[in-house]
Symmetry: C2
Subunit: 454 residues, 2 copies
């Protein structure tokens, strides 16, 4: 019989106070003047984990340090790696904060502070979850913590770190709590993320800007050409026309369709929430299916010619656009980038030269819905919330997840405690006290469930 | 028997010296610090015209003054109005001038100075042309000069002036020399100009920028939508698809086709001159026909989303484009603007809101090729150059020409003495001495020929 966890009032107060201490350290990774605070925050976490019996170290990188800690109870048991980050976004614009960003304040049941939800609060919930679990005896599995200090500035030193310490970081499953669950009353397990291929298309017409009176009707117009190229990248059904684009992609299963259809979602409310006149997209798929499990193509930026007030009768020499494609499992970012690089010159109209530059990419990831660790996360949430959780995928990409998959070769399970309304990255970021405490309970139950995976 | 005109060496020297005096006055209309120079330039012209027996006045406007002068020999004779402007473009970038912009310098047979070709040199050629004609007796027709000081800043006070003095300015034909002839060895009469309809298309998707991970596949993308709209404005043959766009336009006559086909022009050289990979455009028309006598649609500017370095995964809330259409006789600028305003919302994809704002317009103009004043101009050029001139149209718009047509209701004949290689508006603007002197001769012959029109 598994133990049942509760947080006593004393434990709640202690958990709050410890998190508040961490939140008071302005560990803004983007700001060089906070380099000392980065070190302080890392040491605070290292010290706490040491008190829990972890071998804990603050490890230097070429940027801000990584906190690594492990408590290995039994090599025969599963090993979980919990990832989080102790760095936070800059606080600007400071004048929009109702209370100081680095003085945590509780109002209406919410902790207001920079980093409260992203990610100090969610990461610390796991530390207190381990503490709660330890109160009933030795940990039933091997636990490793990896807490970085550069997530908000692109995690550029983490991949080398993973590569260097791959052996030490070896694990059966990776758990991350650094985002938002589906809805306030919907506990959520996220088991997949889309990937990305991001390119820049540059179109050149004449060698200089031309007068549209003297040359209009004859000179190639790179803006018109670019518009034509973009319009040819999708058909009338919203399907992407790049040959081979959909080859080999994982179709959405009936189980997924059913699960997602049962979630509380209204297209009308969704459209109202962004004040859009409609939700156009690929025919044959629901909104959630399109966001989580279908590839997309969006122009993210476009420029060319005269952008000022009034009119200028110019035919520009150049135009450009940033185009990104969200990818789904079965697609490969490098292959997709190559496909669009091959295709755009073929659909470019006569008279212009085009170039497609690869800018950025990321692999899509997905764990099987019936992966035992995914199921274990579901069981843990059921015990905390008394209801079945949602199993969702994410429409975005978390580059570090793909790195974990690639280097550590373990499944990544995302169990988010936050909500979009927490306003991460914005002024007055907050984290509900209840969500923090449920996060602690979830972590304890989750570790207990993961321990029982064969 | 008409007299034959020659410029003696003394006359050449005197004509040069007088023009140089005018070029030394830095009458930059855009720069308020030159307001005194504007007055000086106007008074210089007024004084000269007075010595030629003209009733000449410097007339105040809400901007820079207008020089008006008339010498009315006989109410039974035709009346010509010669338009020109004494204001010049700013000299910047000053460091690129080989000799000072307001100290005319002759090198290799060219007068280098700001305003040398645009338009002091060409306008002064008419003044010296009148002087040459007067040397053989009373003028054979009534001559009026209208020399403005705001052409380079949009002529915004000229239309009210025309309206106020329409009766005084009454004439049978208007002559303008303020541009470039077809080619160095091709004397040119220009008898038509394209018009313009210039609009701004604004597309709105959601009410704010969205993350392409969380919303990609569902949120309306205004940039993609704008590209689709633009691509639908022309068909595969380069024809504009706006319903009614081509209704009622004057087709190019066989005479025009033949005349233009005989001009020295090479598509290959033209493409090389702008380093373009091709000269795309409406099927079924030659390059010159497309520039001079076919309507066009060009995007002059486009913007939306992220335009900086690297990648940003944003779905923009808004995008916009400036779109202009060059119009030909038979089209009406206001009607065409209305047609595109009606059409764009119909071709906009679902989920976005569009707005088409009218920015600017101008009517196309054309005089019949067999108009006697056009023929008279041709005869004058034949006498100066010993060869038949080209009869061309212009691809651009000269707003003041449409205003002349509308208010004074007289045909406008463009007899340009300059060349593109004179580099008007650029550093080291120049005017060939030979072209200046031929301009003087042309003016004398032209007035003589115009006088004989019944």
């Amino acid at each position: 019989m598994n133990p049942t966890f509760v947080l006593s009032e004393a434990e709640q107060t202690s958990a709050n106070n410890e998190l508040f201490e961490l939140l008071r350290i302005p560990s803004v990774s983007a700001d060089p003047s906070h380099v000392g605070d980065m070190q302080r925050a890392a040491e605070y976490l290292q010290a706490k984990l040491a008190t829990l019996g972890f071998t804990a170290r603050v490890e230097a990188t070429d940027g801000h340090p990584v906190v690594y800690a492990e408590r290995l109870s039994d090599p025969g048991k599963p090993t979980v790696l919990i990832y989080g980050h102790y760095d936070v976004q800059p606080e600007a614009p400071i004048e929009e904060w109702l209370t100081p960003p680095f003085e945590p304040t509780v109002r209406n049941g919410r902790i207001y502070a920079r980093g409260s939800t992203d990610d100090k609060g969610q990461a610390y919930a796991h530390i207190r979850g381990v503490e709660l679990l330890l109160a009933s005896g030795e940990l039933p599995l091997n636990v490793k913590f990896l807490l970085e200090g550069e997530e908000e500035v692109g995690s550029k030193n983490l991949e080398p770190y993973l590569q260097q310490y791959a052996e030490q970081l070896k694990c059966d499953v990776i758990v991350i709590s650094d985002g938002s669950r589906f809805a306030p009353d919907v506990p959520t397990v996220t088991y997949g993320l889309r990937g990305l291929s991001y390119v820049e298309v540059l179109v050149q017409g004449a060698n200089r800007d031309l007068h549209s009176g003297s040359y209009g009707g004859v000179a190639p117009n790179p803006i018109n050409a670019l518009a034509e190229i973009i319009s040819k990248l999708k058909d009338e059904q919203g399907r992407i026309t790049i040959p081979g684009f959909y080859d080999g992609i994982d179709e959405i299963t009936q189980e997924e369709r059913d699960l997602w259809a049962s979630l509380p979602h209204s297209d009308a409310e969704f459209a109202v929430s962004i004040d859009a006149a409609g939700l156009p997209g690929e025919a044959g798929y629901t909104t959630l299916e399109r966001i989580w499990a279908r590839p997309t193509l969006d122009v993210n930026g476009i420029w060319g010619g005269y952008q000022g007030e009034g009119s200028k009768t110019v035919i520009a020499a150049k135009a450009g656009a940033k185009i990104s494609m969200r990818l789904v499992p079965g697609q490969d970012t490098e292959n997709i980038t190559k496909l669009i690089q091959d295709y755009v010159p073929k659909i470019a109209p006569a008279g212009v030269k085009v170039e497609v530059r690869a800018l950025h990419g990321g692999q899509p990831v997905k764990i099987d819905l019936d992966n035992p660790y995914v199921r274990a996360a579901g069981k843990a949430l059921q015990q905390v919330y008394g209801k079945a959780p949602a199993f969702t995928r994410g429409g975005g990409s978390i580059p570090i997840v793909a790195a974990f998959r690639e280097i550590l070769k373990a499944p990544v399970v995302l169990v988010d405690f936050g909500l979009n309304e927490d306003a991460p990255h914005s002024p007055n970021e907050s984290f509900a006290v209840k969500d923090y405490h449920n996060g602690i309970l979830t972590s304890a139950y989750l570790l207990q469930e993961l321990a029982q995976v064969e």
